[in-house]
Symmetry: C2
Subunit: 762 residues, 2 copies
């Protein structure tokens, strides 16, 4: 045999791109962590920030599609989100294999031997009454194409349903809040091996306008028989069901001659069905399922490998950490080249769920591991601002909506600015931030920008009665701080001075001297005249003027006050009164000083007023740093992790919110925690003995916890690049520069971090 | 031959539906009236409110597509608007026949023997250097399908360009105000006789988001050779050019065997290309061009015939009148079943250009001649409110935007209410009106609702410096009047009382005692502190504070003040200070009483301060009615018509604005003029001797001007259904009831209309 160096070289390259599954860091990812309970993570295969997210859909209600047995699976839809609460979104283009005649009907099935790993899902459909029983389903994906390998029972009919009318969260009432609503659909059998079409849906979590998911399903065997449907009308051999505002789909049967396995590639596009078909040809030209699976794994391995844990790290910790990174990089979704709204070479991202959730730790983790990706995301936000008029706070289905608190894309811009991310037009960024801060969004006050802005500008706070007045005042003040930071850096001093001033607006809702459970001073409801309210109105009776007593522990409202109208979103004043990431020293002073603040924090944790599942509390356990007690921060963080996180299906304490929970955990495991919008990370006792960051700039940064053990959980001293390092925080630039942070661990805290407190930039 | 009664019957029905062209009232329509000069009317074939509007496109700049020779024609696009100003919109899916090799290049041609009549356009392409020279083009249409008959020179190659990248108003700078911008396109040769694709464009006049025009072009001969393109890359035989954000198109050659004539049907859809193809099959299953042309004519004849002029009416008057009706019913466009945004059985209309232009006379004319159509339009507006959040003021490309003055869909709702149009949920209507009046649209203050609403609510007027403060205050006050009318009718008395009060807000900008050219009291700029301004600021220098003197005759601003930022939109204070359609007696009193008001009106007309081309002045010549001098109203109206309207290409004095100018004329010719939002018509001396309204309810109403002649131009007396009728106005209900209004004409005015003045409903 002749020596063919070129081919060998090519094969070598291919291997480099696609190592055998299970060898890279992806092996430690368990997509099932956080899949049950409150986590709601997406469990199917997805590329990093991937556009397709195929998953079993178990009834039409869960947000991520998947539910555990014994809930049957209805089919496998191609688009999902991860970790969300509220009304579902997507769940489009449902595929369901079955064996039997081409008739409409429920082929829902149970699952046996269900298995999910990074980039790969497998199950065996089962159930006595189901025409799908006995069919093996495997799924992998490229960025825009789902790839199915379906193993039918021997010599049984190989049939497939493609349902363009399915979607998650359908409700009987039209136009219900957060309910997805059907707009239109189409299917066309374009050849013996391809079906195209689309599903057009509106509403859902962000109450958005119509979006269209186009698809092209390509088969490795010719269709032997087909029936298409519209509404409830089945039409054998009818190739096209054009859109007439009814649900459509296709039932296909493939001849058995070619074997019992059917491979199906389902390309997705947001531009057109033909584009979806081109996406199939461009991304998966062949039929090698295992190759695509390896390629997906290789993409992740390259990314996950940027944070290398010491090989001796216990398996559960590796699972928690790498699954954390994985969850963080499922969304937002990279839809560059798939934007149906405007044209241009800029990156385009969708599915921000929501920046209120992700700005604190998810985006900073992306900045740390994949800064160019974060640059693309920020540029996509600015591009959306330029064309849609506002930065998104949340976005899905190509439309902004909706706000929970502030206009927190501003924090992402400030965070990129202080961390010197290149390739971003920060002047445009400042203009976008100022738009948020000065132009009321109007109409739908939840869609984007800052709702009730006129009140905020007039009073310096949002008065009681305005929805979410408490947490929005806090967020707006922090967003104003971020504006000040960027304005100062760009030399726009009048803007800086104004927003630096406004950054203190949270103090306008700080009720000095108000006591509760031993703590003093709380963010409390105040009316537009400036009066503090001990009771706040409820109901709409203008005769009786009913009220209820408001306390800093009040979490829920009476049932007749809407979820979105409460004083705080998803938490209590005990939690929110500590959520001032830019002015912690002021907060300490207003709480009565160091001792009182220490007692307040202790009460918070010991009386279980703290809830790690709500993002505004993410920084709270680290506040001991500002008292010179990083040891207490670390203690609390370890307690929280031990109590709330684990490597099981129930391993996340709340909605993962696009990786928010997961990224908080991953940061803390490394011993770092960011204060987004500011340039440093707080240092804590790592949970892992060594993390090496292989940065995009080629420089490694290593964090080593020397002598870490079950008892040695305190940082006794530290060295940065060999020199003593006494502060319990580190600048982003120090990491970017590369080097090593060596933390000497001990069973007792020493004076490390007690004197040089974290910086406050004003 | 056997007697076949059924077939004869069918043929008879068909004849009933499609009389020979030229026999119905459509024969009097001349689509070229208003095509040159300022009118900008669409000149191609269109069904009433028809979705396709094919027209020659002469360069990519004119709003309606068409320009006169010697401007060459670039091709024939399928979607246009009529009579608009500002930036162009649409001009999508360009078709151009040529004879020659399939190469990209300009085949622009001159036109010979160009001819347009209702439902039919014909030209002969010409020009020495053009590959299209010698080709005859004929066009007709069904509601959603353009139909072309192309006659190629004998034995010359029959080639065709289908350009999915063409659109009107392309400009080099990205995202320019009012500029259409390319988003994406696609073409696919789906069979030997069909090409499908789409064009996705954003921006344009209403600065809207992306809209997609899908098409299916079907040929009566097989394609013998084809080349498709993307960007500048030609690809022979490449069937599909999928969307990748580049311009695409197809060049086709048809074999010459089948003759020299090629028929092409171009179906349009806003849902999908397959839907466009179904629209072709549903609307024009065959190839009989003349049948389609007759069917289109029959649709129009049935509609135009509802206003029957006396057969003796001079031809030019018939042309002016029926062309006026025709122009009024080109838009808005009926897109029922073609809404890509939400689903439902409700009617859907697009292309409101703008209601500020059409509420005064276009919509009232539709209400008079086709009330069910107006019900559908109002219900479409309410449906848009329900799903998009606001009533449109203007709408195009499936998106609201933009406002020139008030939120005048409110006037349409009030007009329908006072005219008792059935089948409208007026409670929802009131809710929609109150949304406009209470919820600031925010962000883009031009898109919908009432911009700068907070100022209006706080001050009762818009202060100087706010764009269009003058005319928006007037409009908001009238819109508030309309709210009061509906609220009162629905028994919502507190709402009624509040808005009745606000209806007087125009008086807050009425500068009492201010004199100009002998008149007293004008709508003048006032600052937020209440101070009247003789000079208003311009420019942005905060050091120099430059100003210019503001006078009631100021029409234009210095060039550096934007068109949209002036105190008045498109007119002077002389004109706008008379634009108070709900409180004319108050206006008369504030102007100094009857004599002063008479003198003021005389000055307006004699000094040529009046401009009929601006819609807020439409009612002004009729204001003499409130002085008991309908004879003077009639005199002015006749003068205006004689000076400003004629049956030539230059026959309209301004942008036809979706039929606004045309409907004003048509009303005045009958002797009626509506005061939209109020239940009556003012009566004037008709220009035609008799109009019979054949109403949808089956009842005829006839207006006869007895003894009308060149000198007998005054109404001496009147009888309604035989009884003396002394008032110079008539209730809508009197017309609906059927009957006859007999006006006795004379050479001198008598006391008719001098005592019982037009009603003022408060």
């Amino acid at each position: 045999m002749r020596f063919r160096p070129f081919l060998l070289l090519a094969a070598g390259l291919l291997r480099g791109l696609a190592p055998a599954a299970g060898q890279g860091y992806g092996q430690f990812v368990d997509p099932m962590i956080g899949s049950e309970g409150l986590g709601r993570v997406f469990i199917g295969p997805s590329c990093p920030f991937g556009m397709v997210k195929p998953s079993p859909d178990c009834t039409a209600s869960p947000n991520s599609g998947w539910l555990p047995e014994p809930t049957p699976v209805t089919g496998f839809a191609q688009v999902h989100v991860s970790g969300t609460g509220g009304g579902p979104k997507y769940g489009n283009i449902l595929l369901m294999p079955f064996s039997g005649p081409l008739a409409l009907g429920d082929n829902s099935a149970h699952r046996q031997h269900e298995h999910a790993e990074l980039g790969y899902y497998r199950t065996q459909l089962a159930g006595a009454g189901s025409a799908a029983a006995g069919i093996g389903v495997e799924i992998t994906a490229s960025p825009k194409v789902s790839f199915y390998r379906l193993a039918y029972p021997r010599q049984q009919p190989r049939a497939l349903k493609l349902d363009a009318g399915f979607f998650l969260g359908e409700q009987p009432e039209p136009d219900g809040r957060e309910a997805q609503q059907f707009v239109g659909s189409e299917v066309e059998v374009v050849s013996a091996t391809e079906v195209r079409g689309y599903s057009r849906i509106r509403g859902g979590w962000n109450n958005g306008p119509a979006y269209t998911v186009y698809f092209a399903a390509v088969f490795d065997a010719p269709v032997a028989e087909f029936v298409t449907w519209k509404g409830t009308r089945l039409q054998p051999g009818q190739k096209l069901q054009a859109d007439s505002g009814e649900k459509t789909g296709a039932l296909l049967r493939f001849a058995n001659g070619a074997g019992d396995t059917l491979r199906v590639k389902v390309g997705i596009s947001f531009l057109s069905a033909a584009r979806a078909s081109e996406n199939v040809r461009a991304e998966i030209p062949g039929w090698d399922f295992d190759l695509v699976r390896r390629q997906l794994r290789a993409r992740w391995d390259a990314l996950l490998g940027r944070a290398e844990l010491h090989p001796d790290t216990p398996l559960d910790q590796k699972k928690l950490f790498y699954t954390g990174l994985y969850h963080t990089m499922l969304m937002p979704v990279d839809r560059s080249g798939e934007n149906p709204l405007w044209n241009g070479p800029q990156p385009y991202y969708d599915d921000f769920y929501a920046i209120w959730d992700t700005f604190r730790s998810s985006n900073p983790l992306i900045t740390l591991l994949a800064p160019q990706r974060e640059v693309d995301i920020v540029n996509a936000l600015l591009n959306i601002y330029q064309h849609d008029g506002y930065l998104p706070e949340a976005r899905s289905g190509n439309a902004n909506g909706r706000t929970q608190g502030g206009s927190n894309a501003e924090v992402l811009i400030a965070d990129a600015f202080v961390k010197n991310l290149p390739g971003i037009d920060y002047r445009q960024g400042l203009a976008a931030m100022l738009k948020d801060a000065t132009v009321p969004p109007g109409g739908n006050e939840e869609q984007e920008g800052r709702g009730d802005l006129a009140d905020y500008r007039r009073l310096g706070y949002l008065p009681s009665g305005v929805p979410r007045a408490g947490n929005r005042t806090l967020d707006y003040a922090y967003d104003d701080y971020c504006i000040a930071v960027v304005a100062k850096g760009l030399g726009q001093l009048p803007v800086y001075q104004q927003y630096r001033q406004q950054a203190g607006n949270w103090q306008n809702l700080w009720r000095d001297g108000y006591r509760n459970h031993g703590a003093t001073g709380f963010i409390m409801p105040r009316d537009a005249a400036g009066k503090w309210l001990d009771s706040i109105p409820y109901g709409t009776s203008v005769r009786q003027h009913p009220t209820f007593v408001y306390t800093p522990l009040m979490r829920e409202n009476p049932w007749y006050v809407c979820h979105w109208c409460a004083f705080f979103y998803e938490a209590t004043s005990w939690e929110y009164s500590l959520s001032v990431p830019h002015q912690v020293p002021v907060l300490i002073a207003k709480s009565g000083g160091r001792d009182a603040f220490r007692a307040r924090l202790d009460t918070l944790f010991e009386k279980k007023f703290y809830n790690v599942a709500n993002e505004p509390s993410f920084l709270t356990p680290s506040l001991y740093h500002w008292l010179g007690r990083p040891d207490l921060s670390s203690q609390r963080i370890r307690q929280i992790i031990a109590q709330s996180f684990n490597a099981t299906h129930f391993g996340l304490p709340g909605n993962d919110d696009s990786g928010a929970m997961s990224s908080w955990l991953a940061f803390q495991m490394m011993g770092l925690y960011p204060n987004a919008g500011q340039s440093y990370y707080l240092l804590n006792a790592p949970l892992v003995k060594q993390t090496t960051l292989h940065q995009e700039n080629g420089r490694d940064f290593r964090i080593t916890a020397h002598n870490l053990s079950a008892t040695n959980v305190y940082v006794e001293s530290a060295r940065l690049n060999g020199k003593p390092f006494r502060q319990a925080w580190i600048e982003h630039q120090d990491i970017v520069n590369g080097g090593e942070l060596l933390l000497e661990m001990a069973a007792q805290p020493a004076d490390w971090g007690t004197r040089q407190l974290p910086p406050v930039t004003e």
